[in-house]
Protein backbone atom coordinates (compact mmCIF):
# COMPACT_ATOMS: atom_id res chain seq x y z
CA UNK A 1 0.00 0.00 0.00
CA UNK A 2 1.18 3.51 -0.91
CA UNK A 3 0.98 6.41 1.49
CA UNK A 4 -1.47 9.14 0.60
CA UNK A 5 -0.14 11.43 3.36
CA UNK A 6 3.26 11.35 4.97
CA UNK A 7 4.41 13.88 7.52
CA UNK A 8 7.84 14.02 9.15
CA UNK A 9 8.57 16.33 12.06
CA UNK A 10 5.95 18.92 11.20
CA UNK A 11 6.08 22.12 13.23
CA UNK A 12 3.74 25.06 12.93
CA UNK A 13 3.86 28.36 14.79
CA UNK A 14 1.37 31.19 14.98
CA UNK A 15 3.72 33.97 16.05
CA UNK A 16 5.15 32.69 19.34
CA UNK A 17 2.48 30.05 19.73
CA UNK A 18 3.63 26.52 18.92
CA UNK A 19 0.51 24.98 17.35
CA UNK A 20 1.93 21.72 15.94
CA UNK A 21 4.87 20.03 17.65
CA UNK A 22 6.96 17.51 15.73
CA UNK A 23 4.05 15.71 14.14
CA UNK A 24 4.79 12.43 12.35
CA UNK A 25 1.93 11.09 10.32
CA UNK A 26 1.31 8.35 7.83
CA UNK A 27 -2.00 7.67 6.11
CA UNK A 28 -2.29 4.89 3.60
CA UNK A 29 -4.31 4.94 0.45
CA UNK A 30 -7.91 3.95 1.16
CA UNK A 31 -7.46 4.42 4.88
CA UNK A 32 -9.94 6.31 7.06
CA UNK A 33 -8.17 8.16 9.84
CA UNK A 34 -10.14 9.89 12.57
CA UNK A 35 -8.52 12.62 14.65
CA UNK A 36 -10.00 13.36 18.04
CA UNK A 37 -8.89 15.73 20.75
CA UNK A 38 -9.93 18.76 22.79
CA UNK A 39 -10.60 22.15 21.24
CA UNK A 40 -7.40 24.07 20.48
CA UNK A 41 -5.25 20.93 20.23
CA UNK A 42 -4.25 21.65 16.62
CA UNK A 43 -6.56 19.29 14.71
CA UNK A 44 -7.80 21.91 12.26
CA UNK A 45 -4.32 23.30 11.87
CA UNK A 46 -3.02 19.88 10.86
CA UNK A 47 -5.74 19.47 8.22
CA UNK A 48 -5.15 23.01 6.96
CA UNK A 49 -1.43 22.29 6.59
CA UNK A 50 -2.20 19.18 4.55
CA UNK A 51 -4.40 21.32 2.30
CA UNK A 52 -1.90 24.22 2.30
CA UNK A 53 -4.34 26.69 3.77
CA UNK A 54 -1.48 27.05 6.27
CA UNK A 55 2.22 26.69 5.61
CA UNK A 56 4.33 24.47 7.86
CA UNK A 57 7.40 26.06 9.46
CA UNK A 58 9.61 22.98 9.54
CA UNK A 59 9.51 19.32 8.69
CA UNK A 60 8.25 17.71 5.53
CA UNK A 61 4.82 16.81 4.26
CA UNK A 62 3.99 14.65 1.25
CA UNK A 63 0.50 14.32 -0.19
CA UNK A 64 -0.05 11.70 -2.86
CA UNK A 65 3.74 11.21 -3.06
CA UNK A 66 4.37 14.89 -3.81
CA UNK A 67 6.32 17.18 -1.50
CA UNK A 68 3.90 19.86 -0.34
CA UNK A 69 4.80 23.50 -1.08
CA UNK A 70 8.24 22.93 -2.66
CA UNK A 71 9.92 21.63 -5.78
CA UNK A 72 13.07 19.59 -5.23
CA UNK A 73 15.92 20.54 -7.54
CA UNK A 74 19.13 18.71 -6.64
CA UNK A 75 20.13 20.07 -3.26
CA UNK A 76 17.67 22.95 -3.37
CA UNK A 77 14.03 23.35 -2.40
CA UNK A 78 12.22 25.90 -4.52
CA UNK A 79 9.16 27.41 -2.92
CA UNK A 80 6.10 26.92 -5.13
CA UNK A 81 4.17 29.94 -6.34
CA UNK A 82 0.49 30.45 -5.78
CA UNK A 83 -0.65 28.76 -9.00
CA UNK A 84 1.50 25.70 -8.35
CA UNK A 85 0.10 25.43 -4.83
CA UNK A 86 -3.42 25.65 -6.26
CA UNK A 87 -2.52 22.72 -8.55
CA UNK A 88 -1.20 20.64 -5.65
CA UNK A 89 -4.39 21.32 -3.74
CA UNK A 90 -6.36 19.46 -6.40
CA UNK A 91 -5.27 16.17 -4.79
CA UNK A 92 -7.33 16.96 -1.69
CA UNK A 93 -10.93 17.89 -1.10
CA UNK A 94 -11.96 19.71 2.06
CA UNK A 95 -15.21 19.82 3.98
CA UNK A 96 -15.56 22.60 6.54
CA UNK A 97 -17.39 22.78 9.83
CA UNK A 98 -19.49 25.68 8.59
CA UNK A 99 -20.13 24.25 5.08
CA UNK A 100 -18.94 27.39 3.26
CA UNK A 101 -21.15 26.83 0.24
CA UNK A 102 -21.16 29.70 -2.23
CA UNK A 103 -24.42 31.45 -1.32
CA UNK A 104 -24.89 33.19 -4.68
CA UNK A 105 -24.89 29.89 -6.58
CA UNK A 106 -27.45 27.11 -6.68
CA UNK A 107 -26.61 23.65 -5.41
CA UNK A 108 -25.73 22.45 -8.89
CA UNK A 109 -23.70 25.59 -9.63
CA UNK A 110 -21.74 25.04 -6.43
CA UNK A 111 -20.84 21.53 -7.51
CA UNK A 112 -19.88 22.32 -11.13
CA UNK A 113 -17.95 25.51 -10.31
CA UNK A 114 -14.58 23.85 -9.69
CA UNK A 115 -14.57 21.34 -12.55
CA UNK A 116 -15.60 24.01 -15.08
CA UNK A 117 -13.57 27.00 -13.82
CA UNK A 118 -10.49 25.22 -12.53
CA UNK A 119 -10.24 21.95 -14.46
CA UNK A 120 -11.83 23.45 -17.60
CA UNK A 121 -13.98 20.36 -18.08
CA UNK A 122 -16.87 20.48 -20.51
CA UNK A 123 -20.09 21.83 -18.95
CA UNK A 124 -22.20 18.95 -20.24
CA UNK A 125 -20.07 16.16 -18.78
CA UNK A 126 -19.57 18.10 -15.57
CA UNK A 127 -23.29 18.58 -15.14
CA UNK A 128 -23.93 14.86 -15.55
CA UNK A 129 -21.22 13.97 -13.07
CA UNK A 130 -22.53 16.61 -10.65
CA UNK A 131 -26.06 15.23 -10.84
CA UNK A 132 -24.69 11.76 -10.10
CA UNK A 133 -22.89 13.10 -7.05
CA UNK A 134 -25.96 14.99 -5.87
CA UNK A 135 -27.89 11.77 -6.28
CA UNK A 136 -25.29 9.96 -4.18
CA UNK A 137 -25.76 12.44 -1.35
CA UNK A 138 -29.55 12.29 -1.81
CA UNK A 139 -30.02 15.85 -3.05
CA UNK A 140 -30.62 15.59 -6.80
CA UNK A 141 -34.05 17.13 -6.24
CA UNK A 142 -32.43 20.22 -4.69
CA UNK A 143 -30.17 20.95 -7.67
CA UNK A 144 -31.75 24.35 -8.32
CA UNK A 145 -32.10 25.48 -4.71
CA UNK A 146 -29.87 28.11 -3.15
CA UNK A 147 -27.91 27.15 -0.02
CA UNK A 148 -30.10 29.34 2.18
CA UNK A 149 -33.08 27.17 1.23
CA UNK A 150 -31.36 24.03 2.55
CA UNK A 151 -31.00 22.66 6.07
CA UNK A 152 -27.54 22.45 7.60
CA UNK A 153 -27.34 18.74 6.93
CA UNK A 154 -28.31 19.26 3.30
CA UNK A 155 -25.76 22.05 2.92
CA UNK A 156 -23.02 19.84 4.29
CA UNK A 157 -23.96 17.04 1.90
CA UNK A 158 -23.76 19.51 -1.00
CA UNK A 159 -20.36 20.61 0.29
CA UNK A 160 -19.23 16.98 0.17
CA UNK A 161 -20.51 16.65 -3.40
CA UNK A 162 -18.72 19.89 -4.33
CA UNK A 163 -15.43 18.51 -3.01
CA UNK A 164 -15.95 15.14 -4.71
CA UNK A 165 -16.68 16.81 -8.06
CA UNK A 166 -12.95 17.62 -8.27
CA UNK A 167 -12.19 13.88 -8.06
CA UNK A 168 -9.72 14.29 -5.20
CA UNK A 169 -7.42 11.50 -4.02
CA UNK A 170 -7.96 12.39 -0.37
CA UNK A 171 -10.85 13.93 1.52
CA UNK A 172 -10.36 16.09 4.61
CA UNK A 173 -13.27 16.66 7.00
CA UNK A 174 -12.97 19.29 9.73
CA UNK A 175 -15.71 18.57 12.28
CA UNK A 176 -18.30 18.18 9.52
CA UNK A 177 -21.19 17.62 11.93
CA UNK A 178 -20.30 19.99 14.77
CA UNK A 179 -22.43 22.86 13.45
CA UNK A 180 -25.50 20.65 12.91
CA UNK A 181 -28.61 20.12 14.96
CA UNK A 182 -28.43 16.61 16.48
CA UNK A 183 -31.19 15.20 14.26
CA UNK A 184 -29.23 16.19 11.12
CA UNK A 185 -25.93 14.58 12.09
CA UNK A 186 -26.95 11.10 10.93
CA UNK A 187 -27.60 11.98 7.28
CA UNK A 188 -24.13 13.50 6.91
CA UNK A 189 -22.41 10.59 8.65
CA UNK A 190 -24.25 8.17 6.34
CA UNK A 191 -22.84 9.94 3.29
CA UNK A 192 -19.36 9.80 4.81
CA UNK A 193 -19.73 6.14 5.70
CA UNK A 194 -20.66 5.32 2.09
CA UNK A 195 -17.73 7.34 0.86
CA UNK A 196 -15.39 5.36 3.13
CA UNK A 197 -16.88 2.10 1.82
CA UNK A 198 -16.17 3.21 -1.74
CA UNK A 199 -12.47 3.22 -0.85
CA UNK A 200 -11.83 6.97 -0.54
CA UNK A 201 -8.86 7.97 1.63
CA UNK A 202 -10.21 10.17 4.40
CA UNK A 203 -8.94 12.16 7.35
CA UNK A 204 -11.82 13.09 9.62
CA UNK A 205 -11.63 15.41 12.60
CA UNK A 206 -14.67 14.56 14.66
CA UNK A 207 -16.24 14.28 18.08
CA UNK A 208 -18.54 11.49 16.85
CA UNK A 209 -16.85 8.61 18.65
CA UNK A 210 -19.44 6.13 17.38
CA UNK A 211 -18.59 7.01 13.80
CA UNK A 212 -14.86 6.74 14.56
CA UNK A 213 -15.27 3.32 16.12
CA UNK A 214 -17.35 2.00 13.25
CA UNK A 215 -15.71 3.55 10.19
CA UNK A 216 -12.13 4.48 11.06
CA UNK A 217 -9.18 2.18 10.40
CA UNK A 218 -7.18 4.19 12.87
CA UNK A 219 -7.78 6.89 15.47
CA UNK A 220 -5.34 9.58 16.56
CA UNK A 221 -5.71 11.51 19.78
CA UNK A 222 -4.17 15.00 19.75
CA UNK A 223 -3.58 17.39 22.62
CA UNK A 224 -1.49 20.55 22.90
CA UNK A 225 -0.27 20.33 19.31
CA UNK A 226 1.03 16.78 19.71
CA UNK A 227 -0.14 13.32 18.75
CA UNK A 228 -0.58 11.68 22.13
CA UNK A 229 -1.82 8.31 21.03
CA UNK A 230 -2.57 6.49 17.79
CA UNK A 231 -3.99 3.06 17.10
CA UNK A 232 -6.96 0.83 16.35
CA UNK A 233 -10.27 2.56 17.09
CA UNK A 234 -11.25 -0.05 19.68
CA UNK A 235 -7.98 0.23 21.52
CA UNK A 236 -8.03 4.03 21.65
CA UNK A 237 -11.73 4.52 22.28
CA UNK A 238 -12.43 1.76 24.78
CA UNK A 239 -9.08 1.16 26.34
CA UNK A 240 -6.85 4.24 26.03
CA UNK A 241 -3.46 3.88 27.63
CA UNK A 242 -2.82 7.59 28.11
CA UNK A 243 -4.67 9.33 30.91
CA UNK A 244 -5.28 12.49 28.86
CA UNK A 245 -7.01 10.32 26.25
CA UNK A 246 -9.03 8.66 28.99
CA UNK A 247 -10.09 12.02 30.40
CA UNK A 248 -11.06 13.35 26.96
CA UNK A 249 -13.10 10.29 26.02
CA UNK A 250 -15.01 10.17 29.25
CA UNK A 251 -15.69 13.92 28.91
CA UNK A 252 -17.10 13.45 25.38
CA UNK A 253 -19.21 10.47 26.41
CA UNK A 254 -20.80 12.30 29.33
Amino acid sequence: MQSIVEGKGINKYFGEFHALKDIDLNVEEGEVLCIIGPSGSGKSTLLRCINQLEKIDSGGLWVDQELVGYRIDGEKLHELNENQIAKQRLATGMVFQRFNLFPHMTTLENVIEGPIQVLKHSPKETREHAMQLLDQVGLAHKADSYPIELSGGQQQRVAIARALAMRPRLMLFDEPTSALDPELVGEVLTVMRNLAKSGMSMIVVTHELGFAREVANRVIFMDGGQIIESGEPKAILTNPSNERTQAFISAVLN
Partner: protein, 292 residues
Protein backbone atom coordinates in the same frame (compact mmCIF):
# COMPACT_ATOMS: atom_id res chain seq x y z
CA UNK B 1 -64.02 42.92 38.85
CA UNK B 2 -66.06 44.92 36.34
CA UNK B 3 -64.45 48.25 36.91
CA UNK B 4 -61.02 47.01 35.78
CA UNK B 5 -62.40 46.46 32.27
CA UNK B 6 -64.14 49.78 31.85
CA UNK B 7 -62.75 51.58 28.83
CA UNK B 8 -61.10 54.87 29.55
CA UNK B 9 -63.48 57.81 29.94
CA UNK B 10 -66.71 55.89 29.56
CA UNK B 11 -67.58 55.63 33.23
CA UNK B 12 -70.08 53.15 34.51
CA UNK B 13 -71.85 52.91 31.16
CA UNK B 14 -68.89 51.00 29.74
CA UNK B 15 -69.10 47.42 28.52
CA UNK B 16 -69.14 44.73 31.15
CA UNK B 17 -67.18 41.53 31.15
CA UNK B 18 -70.12 39.83 29.50
CA UNK B 19 -70.56 42.54 26.94
CA UNK B 20 -67.25 43.50 25.42
CA UNK B 21 -68.54 44.74 22.10
CA UNK B 22 -66.81 48.06 21.32
CA UNK B 23 -68.23 48.52 17.84
CA UNK B 24 -70.77 51.15 18.88
CA UNK B 25 -68.12 53.48 20.32
CA UNK B 26 -66.70 56.48 18.55
CA UNK B 27 -62.93 56.43 18.49
CA UNK B 28 -61.44 59.84 19.24
CA UNK B 29 -57.99 59.89 17.63
CA UNK B 30 -55.01 61.40 19.41
CA UNK B 31 -54.52 64.99 18.34
CA UNK B 32 -51.21 65.97 16.74
CA UNK B 33 -51.30 69.74 16.95
CA UNK B 34 -47.59 70.01 16.21
CA UNK B 35 -47.89 68.15 12.91
CA UNK B 36 -50.88 70.23 11.98
CA UNK B 37 -49.11 73.52 12.56
CA UNK B 38 -45.99 72.32 10.73
CA UNK B 39 -48.08 71.32 7.72
CA UNK B 40 -49.68 74.75 7.57
CA UNK B 41 -46.32 76.52 7.76
CA UNK B 42 -44.77 74.33 5.06
CA UNK B 43 -47.77 74.66 2.81
CA UNK B 44 -47.73 78.44 3.15
CA UNK B 45 -44.02 78.50 2.34
CA UNK B 46 -44.47 76.33 -0.77
CA UNK B 47 -47.34 78.50 -1.97
CA UNK B 48 -45.27 81.65 -1.50
CA UNK B 49 -42.41 80.08 -3.41
CA UNK B 50 -44.67 79.01 -6.26
CA UNK B 51 -46.18 82.47 -6.30
CA UNK B 52 -42.74 84.05 -6.53
CA UNK B 53 -41.71 81.83 -9.40
CA UNK B 54 -45.01 82.25 -11.22
CA UNK B 55 -44.99 86.03 -10.98
CA UNK B 56 -41.24 86.62 -10.92
CA UNK B 57 -39.21 87.54 -13.91
CA UNK B 58 -39.36 84.05 -15.39
CA UNK B 59 -40.65 83.36 -18.84
CA UNK B 60 -42.02 79.83 -18.55
CA UNK B 61 -42.45 79.76 -22.26
CA UNK B 62 -38.65 79.88 -22.58
CA UNK B 63 -38.25 77.01 -20.18
CA UNK B 64 -40.55 74.89 -22.30
CA UNK B 65 -38.83 75.89 -25.50
CA UNK B 66 -35.27 75.29 -24.34
CA UNK B 67 -36.06 72.07 -22.50
CA UNK B 68 -35.83 70.17 -25.80
CA UNK B 69 -33.53 72.48 -27.73
CA UNK B 70 -30.68 70.86 -29.56
CA UNK B 71 -27.87 72.30 -27.43
CA UNK B 72 -29.57 71.23 -24.19
CA UNK B 73 -30.30 67.71 -25.45
CA UNK B 74 -26.71 67.43 -26.61
CA UNK B 75 -25.52 68.64 -23.20
CA UNK B 76 -27.78 66.17 -21.39
CA UNK B 77 -26.49 63.36 -23.57
CA UNK B 78 -22.88 64.37 -22.89
CA UNK B 79 -23.60 64.46 -19.16
CA UNK B 80 -24.99 60.91 -19.25
CA UNK B 81 -22.27 59.66 -21.56
CA UNK B 82 -19.45 61.16 -19.50
CA UNK B 83 -20.99 59.88 -16.25
CA UNK B 84 -21.12 56.35 -17.61
CA UNK B 85 -17.55 56.44 -18.95
CA UNK B 86 -16.10 58.09 -15.85
CA UNK B 87 -17.98 55.69 -13.59
CA UNK B 88 -16.76 52.71 -15.62
CA UNK B 89 -13.18 53.96 -15.41
CA UNK B 90 -13.64 54.68 -11.71
CA UNK B 91 -15.05 51.23 -11.02
CA UNK B 92 -12.26 49.43 -12.86
CA UNK B 93 -9.65 51.51 -11.03
CA UNK B 94 -11.53 51.04 -7.77
CA UNK B 95 -11.53 47.25 -8.05
CA UNK B 96 -7.87 47.14 -9.12
CA UNK B 97 -6.70 49.46 -6.33
CA UNK B 98 -8.88 47.73 -3.70
CA UNK B 99 -7.29 44.40 -4.59
CA UNK B 100 -3.83 46.01 -4.59
CA UNK B 101 -4.54 47.55 -1.23
CA UNK B 102 -5.31 44.11 0.21
CA UNK B 103 -2.36 42.44 -1.50
CA UNK B 104 0.38 40.75 0.48
CA UNK B 105 2.92 42.72 -1.59
CA UNK B 106 3.79 45.88 0.40
CA UNK B 107 4.76 47.89 -2.69
CA UNK B 108 1.36 47.34 -4.29
CA UNK B 109 -0.26 48.25 -0.98
CA UNK B 110 1.62 51.54 -0.73
CA UNK B 111 0.92 52.49 -4.34
CA UNK B 112 -2.79 51.93 -3.71
CA UNK B 113 -2.72 53.88 -0.46
CA UNK B 114 -0.88 56.75 -2.14
CA UNK B 115 -3.38 56.90 -4.97
CA UNK B 116 -6.33 56.99 -2.59
CA UNK B 117 -4.60 59.57 -0.41
CA UNK B 118 -3.81 61.97 -3.27
CA UNK B 119 -7.06 61.86 -5.21
CA UNK B 120 -9.26 62.03 -2.15
CA UNK B 121 -7.12 64.75 -0.66
CA UNK B 122 -7.43 67.32 -3.46
CA UNK B 123 -10.54 69.05 -4.83
CA UNK B 124 -11.97 67.54 -7.98
CA UNK B 125 -12.08 70.89 -9.75
CA UNK B 126 -8.33 71.25 -9.17
CA UNK B 127 -7.74 67.78 -10.63
CA UNK B 128 -9.80 68.66 -13.70
CA UNK B 129 -7.74 71.82 -14.22
CA UNK B 130 -4.51 69.86 -13.76
CA UNK B 131 -5.43 67.36 -16.46
CA UNK B 132 -6.66 70.06 -18.80
CA UNK B 133 -3.46 72.06 -18.39
CA UNK B 134 -1.14 69.07 -18.52
CA UNK B 135 0.60 70.60 -21.55
CA UNK B 136 2.25 73.12 -19.22
CA UNK B 137 4.28 70.27 -17.67
CA UNK B 138 4.39 67.74 -20.49
CA UNK B 139 4.31 69.60 -23.82
CA UNK B 140 4.36 66.28 -25.68
CA UNK B 141 3.12 62.81 -24.81
CA UNK B 142 4.24 59.41 -26.07
CA UNK B 143 7.55 57.63 -26.50
CA UNK B 144 10.33 60.08 -27.42
CA UNK B 145 11.57 59.46 -30.95
CA UNK B 146 8.88 56.90 -31.75
CA UNK B 147 5.54 58.54 -31.26
CA UNK B 148 5.18 62.08 -30.00
CA UNK B 149 1.88 63.90 -29.76
CA UNK B 150 1.26 67.45 -28.75
CA UNK B 151 -0.45 67.36 -25.34
CA UNK B 152 -2.71 70.27 -26.25
CA UNK B 153 -4.14 68.20 -29.11
CA UNK B 154 -4.53 65.04 -27.06
CA UNK B 155 -5.88 66.57 -23.87
CA UNK B 156 -9.27 67.65 -25.17
CA UNK B 157 -11.95 68.77 -22.72
CA UNK B 158 -13.48 65.32 -23.19
CA UNK B 159 -10.32 63.42 -22.24
CA UNK B 160 -9.45 65.77 -19.39
CA UNK B 161 -12.97 65.41 -17.98
CA UNK B 162 -12.86 61.62 -18.32
CA UNK B 163 -9.48 61.32 -16.62
CA UNK B 164 -10.31 63.85 -13.92
CA UNK B 165 -13.70 62.42 -13.04
CA UNK B 166 -12.79 58.74 -13.52
CA UNK B 167 -9.51 58.73 -11.64
CA UNK B 168 -10.96 60.74 -8.78
CA UNK B 169 -13.93 58.39 -8.64
CA UNK B 170 -11.58 55.40 -8.56
CA UNK B 171 -10.10 56.58 -5.27
CA UNK B 172 -13.53 56.62 -3.64
CA UNK B 173 -14.69 53.41 -5.28
CA UNK B 174 -11.54 51.61 -4.10
CA UNK B 175 -12.61 52.18 -0.50
CA UNK B 176 -16.15 51.01 -1.24
CA UNK B 177 -14.88 47.86 -2.96
CA UNK B 178 -12.47 47.18 -0.12
CA UNK B 179 -15.29 47.37 2.41
CA UNK B 180 -17.23 44.94 0.22
CA UNK B 181 -14.36 42.49 0.00
CA UNK B 182 -13.81 42.59 3.75
CA UNK B 183 -17.52 41.89 4.32
CA UNK B 184 -17.25 38.44 2.72
CA UNK B 185 -16.57 35.62 5.18
CA UNK B 186 -13.00 34.24 5.05
CA UNK B 187 -14.52 30.77 4.83
CA UNK B 188 -15.55 31.68 1.28
CA UNK B 189 -11.93 32.31 0.23
CA UNK B 190 -10.93 29.02 1.84
CA UNK B 191 -13.72 27.06 0.17
CA UNK B 192 -12.71 28.59 -3.18
CA UNK B 193 -9.07 27.67 -2.57
CA UNK B 194 -10.04 24.18 -1.51
CA UNK B 195 -11.50 23.49 -4.96
CA UNK B 196 -8.23 24.61 -6.51
CA UNK B 197 -8.97 28.24 -7.35
CA UNK B 198 -6.19 30.80 -7.49
CA UNK B 199 -6.54 34.09 -5.64
CA UNK B 200 -7.79 35.93 -8.72
CA UNK B 201 -10.24 33.18 -9.61
CA UNK B 202 -11.70 33.16 -6.13
CA UNK B 203 -11.99 36.94 -6.17
CA UNK B 204 -13.73 36.98 -9.53
CA UNK B 205 -16.03 33.99 -9.13
CA UNK B 206 -16.73 33.80 -5.40
CA UNK B 207 -15.84 36.89 -3.42
CA UNK B 208 -16.65 39.83 -5.72
CA UNK B 209 -20.14 38.59 -6.62
CA UNK B 210 -20.94 38.43 -2.90
CA UNK B 211 -19.24 41.72 -2.18
CA UNK B 212 -21.49 43.30 -4.83
CA UNK B 213 -24.35 43.27 -2.35
CA UNK B 214 -22.37 45.64 -0.17
CA UNK B 215 -20.76 47.52 -3.06
CA UNK B 216 -23.76 48.24 -5.32
CA UNK B 217 -25.79 50.58 -3.07
CA UNK B 218 -22.94 53.07 -2.45
CA UNK B 219 -21.75 52.80 -6.07
CA UNK B 220 -25.31 53.59 -7.15
CA UNK B 221 -25.23 56.66 -4.94
CA UNK B 222 -21.88 57.67 -6.36
CA UNK B 223 -23.17 57.27 -9.90
CA UNK B 224 -25.91 59.70 -8.99
CA UNK B 225 -23.34 62.12 -7.56
CA UNK B 226 -21.30 61.65 -10.72
CA UNK B 227 -24.18 62.94 -12.85
CA UNK B 228 -23.99 66.15 -10.88
CA UNK B 229 -20.19 66.25 -10.64
CA UNK B 230 -19.87 66.28 -14.41
CA UNK B 231 -21.14 69.87 -14.21
CA UNK B 232 -17.72 70.78 -12.77
CA UNK B 233 -16.26 69.87 -16.17
CA UNK B 234 -17.92 73.01 -17.50
CA UNK B 235 -14.86 74.89 -16.20
CA UNK B 236 -12.68 73.02 -18.70
CA UNK B 237 -15.09 73.66 -21.57
CA UNK B 238 -16.55 70.18 -21.75
CA UNK B 239 -19.92 70.64 -23.35
CA UNK B 240 -22.11 68.98 -20.79
CA UNK B 241 -25.57 70.08 -19.69
CA UNK B 242 -24.69 73.02 -17.45
CA UNK B 243 -21.98 74.28 -19.79
CA UNK B 244 -24.41 74.37 -22.71
CA UNK B 245 -27.12 76.00 -20.61
CA UNK B 246 -24.64 78.67 -19.60
CA UNK B 247 -23.59 79.26 -23.20
CA UNK B 248 -27.20 79.88 -24.10
CA UNK B 249 -27.83 82.33 -21.28
CA UNK B 250 -24.61 84.21 -22.00
CA UNK B 251 -26.24 84.93 -25.36
CA UNK B 252 -29.86 85.57 -24.41
CA UNK B 253 -29.60 86.55 -20.71
CA UNK B 254 -32.38 84.12 -19.70
CA UNK B 255 -30.37 82.94 -16.72
CA UNK B 256 -33.13 81.60 -14.47
CA UNK B 257 -34.99 79.90 -17.30
CA UNK B 258 -31.94 77.97 -18.44
CA UNK B 259 -30.91 77.00 -14.93
CA UNK B 260 -34.41 75.61 -14.44
CA UNK B 261 -34.10 73.72 -17.74
CA UNK B 262 -30.80 72.19 -16.62
CA UNK B 263 -32.30 71.40 -13.19
CA UNK B 264 -35.24 69.57 -14.74
CA UNK B 265 -32.86 67.43 -16.78
CA UNK B 266 -30.63 66.61 -13.83
CA UNK B 267 -33.60 65.57 -11.72
CA UNK B 268 -35.02 63.47 -14.55
CA UNK B 269 -31.75 61.63 -15.17
CA UNK B 270 -31.18 61.00 -11.47
CA UNK B 271 -34.73 59.69 -11.04
CA UNK B 272 -34.32 57.16 -13.85
CA UNK B 273 -30.99 56.07 -12.38
CA UNK B 274 -32.47 55.58 -8.91
CA UNK B 275 -35.03 53.19 -10.36
CA UNK B 276 -32.29 51.25 -12.14
CA UNK B 277 -30.31 51.13 -8.92
CA UNK B 278 -33.02 49.38 -6.95
CA UNK B 279 -33.40 46.80 -9.75
CA UNK B 280 -29.68 46.10 -9.64
CA UNK B 281 -29.72 45.70 -5.86
CA UNK B 282 -32.42 43.07 -6.17
CA UNK B 283 -30.35 41.20 -8.73
CA UNK B 284 -27.28 41.01 -6.52
CA UNK B 285 -29.29 39.97 -3.48
CA UNK B 286 -29.62 36.51 -5.09
CA UNK B 287 -29.13 33.70 -2.60
CA UNK B 288 -29.40 36.02 0.39
CA UNK B 289 -32.45 35.94 2.58
CA UNK B 290 -33.89 39.07 0.92
CA UNK B 291 -35.04 37.19 -2.15
CA UNK B 292 -36.11 33.98 -0.59
Amino acid sequence: MQSTHIPHGKGADGPTLQNRDLSSYNVIRQKHYGKFIASIVILAFVLALLHAFANGNIEWEFVGRFLTSKAILWGAWNTIYMSILAMALGTVLGVVFAIMRMSSNPILRYVAKGYIWFFRGTPLILQLLLWFNLALVFPTLGIPGVLELSTVDVMTPFLAALLGLGINQGAYTAEVVRAGLISVDTGQYEAAKSIGMTRLQSLRRVVLPQAMRVIIPPIGNEFISMIKMTSLASVIQYSELLHNAQNIYYANARVMELLIVAGIWYVAIVTVLSIGQSRLELHFARGSNHTK
